[in-house]
């Protein structure tokens, strides 16, 4: 006889409100259903009611972790329709902004993953070191996360020569720490017991279900838009695309940590090669008729914006496909066959961002009844 365990929309293991309906037979998960939409805010419709410049700030607020990726994807589409060429120096600054964001997002993920397996010390360490990057973002652009350094046609702030030494210093500290964490994650017995061969997504499944980003790369899919569809300064700054073969939770953690090292290298090279020149091209506020699809490799994977303009100051339609939205179908094959205790870490392994995407209940298969777990029952096991 199977039983349905509901997780969410409000649950201590979820940072955001989503509902997962997990059908179990004893400890084993036999089916999963996900309900989205608890934080649907109608941003696509809202974007078509705002001017492009106003919309850029709204697009950045789709996600509380990756505003730079959202702005770059939106800008890629808008600048293509408007025929605006972003100056070279601004392209490098955009790349540095995007990579600083990737580092803090990946460390945030690594911290949450450590927290989900009860490794609180490691969680603290990851988040301590994440501060190094957030400090840099604050120094460069005045805000830790929502820095809004990009604008239509370029960037709003320069990176001044006297700011570079601190960037390099913090990155050097971070590089040393992340190398140490990779050794820890790959060898610590607790981590291996909880993460190796858990929540496996095969390469074939990853490709068929159209998985994106580190979730796909951890399953061996060699695909990164920074290399395959370059934007900003990525076509000019060499870097390696990181993949792992196993597709388990461990691979997903390692891919992201190794990407942090690559991001550090990208920032160093970009700082080194950054040309001088103007920071922004003129944008007159109006965009001619046309349509364009902008996409970038956000921290969680391919982020796509489709913009349709009928001329004027406002877009006719904006479509946003966030990376977590694309990765939701992969959750089921990762969970089915595993045990109920694996649910938090497997869910965390796609680094879900539900506010971007816009829920798990446990179902009794023999009676077909759905049972929602009460707050007291949920808190029970933690006491």
């Amino acid at each position: 006889m199977s039983f349905v365990v509901p997780i969410g929309p409000q649950h201590p293991a979820l940072e955001e409100p989503e509902h997962f309906r997990i059908e179990v037979k004893g400890e084993e998960i036999v089916d999963v259903d996900i309900r989205l939409g608890y934080v649907h805010r109608g941003i696509e419709e809202a974007l078509s009611k705002r001017t492009y410049m106003h919309g850029l700030f709204l697009a950045q607020r789709v996600c509380g972790i990756c505003p730079v990726s959202h702005s770059l994807s939106f800008l890629r589409a808008v600048e293509e329709i408007a025929g605006i060429e972003c100056p070279d120096r601004a392209r490098y600054i955009r790349t540095i902004g995007a990579e600083l964001e990737r580092i803090h997002s990946h460390l945030l993920f690594a911290g949450i993953a450590a927290h989900e397996i009860g490794f609180t010390t490691l969680f603290m360490l990851f988040w301590r070191d994440r501060e190094l990057v957030l400090d840099l973002r604050e120094m460069l652009w005045g805000n830790r996360v929502h820095s809004s350094e990009t604008t239509i046609g370029g960037v709003r702030w320069d990176i001044r020569p006297n700011q570079v030494p601190k960037v390099l210093r913090n990155l050097a500290v971070l590089e040393k720490e992340v190398k140490h964490y990779i050794d820890v994650v790959a060898s610590d017995r607790t981590i291996l017991a909880r993460c190796a061969n858990v929540g496996v997504l095969t390469k074939q499944m990853a490709r068929e279900l159209c998985a994106v980003g580190p979730t796909a790369r951890a399953s061996g899919v060699d695909w990164d838009l920074r290399r395959d569809d370059p934007y900003a300064a990525y076509g000019e700054v060499p870097f390696k695309v990181i993949t792992e073969r196993d597709g388990d939770v461990l691979a997903k953690i390692l891919v992201r940590l190794r990407e942090v090292l690559e991001s550090i290298r990208i920032i160093r090279r970009a700082l080194d090669a950054m040309p001088s020149g103007p920071l922004r091209a003129e944008f007159k506020g109006r965009v001619q008729e046309g349509e364009a699809t902008g996409r970038v490799e956000a921290n969680r994977g391919e982020l796509l914006y489709y913009v349709l303009s009928k001329g004027g100051e406002k877009p006719e339609r904006v479509r946003i496909r966030t990376p977590t939205y694309a990765n939701i179908p992969t959750v089921k094959p990762m969970l089915v066959g595993g045990t109920i205790a694996e649910v938090p870490i497997v869910l965390a392994s796609i680094d879900p961002c539900f506010s971007c995407t816009d829920r798990i209940t446990v179902v009794d298969r023999s009676t077909g009844k759905t049972q929602a777990i009460t707050k007291a029952e949920l808190r029970g096991p933690h006491r």
């Binding site: 939409g37 159209c210 339609r317 479509r319």
Partner: protein, 140 residues
């Protein structure tokens, strides 16, 4: 795969090929041929459907399949009359389309036939039937 090669693959099923640059191709197809175009792409190891966009154009609804062809992005577009907007599901070709088609159904009222799981995705259960938020005539 190069953009030209992608166009060559599906040339029998499309018209109005527009190449904005070497990484962006927009093609127009129709309700009779879009599934054949998608099957041909799949047979050539193009498996990544980035998403499906629906646009209310007034009298018509444009449905755009954004497909990653290993670098170039193909936008395969077809138009459906708004009064009878229905098409066949492509989940048998691209299993990753399952959520995007649910999105298209509830937001624009496009009927996707043969969909394995035609429930609502983002909208709440008590959302009024027949009110599609992204249509121009949606009740605000």
């Amino acid at each position: 795969m190069k953009a030209e090669q992608v166009v060559q693959l599906i040339k029998d099923y499309v018209k109005d090929v527009k190449m904005t640059n070497e990484r962006r191709v927009t093609v127009i197809t129709d309700k009779q041929r879009y599934r054949e175009a998608l099957s041909t792409l799949k047979a050539n190891d193009i498996l990544h459907l980035s998403t499906i966009t629906g646009v209310d154009l007034g009298e018509e609804i444009a449905v755009i399949y954004h497909i990653d062809c290993g670098g170039p992005l193909l936008n395969l577009k077809l138009f459906l009359p708004k009064k009878a907007s229905s098409l066949l599901s492509v989940t048998d070709i691209f299993p990753g389309a399952v959520l995007y088609e649910r999105d298209l159904m509830e937001m624009l009222g496009v009927e996707v036939e043969n969909h394995p799981d035609p429930r609502r995705l983002f909208l709440p259960e008590d959302w009024p039937e027949g009110n599609y938020p992204l249509l121009k005539e949606a009740k605000k």
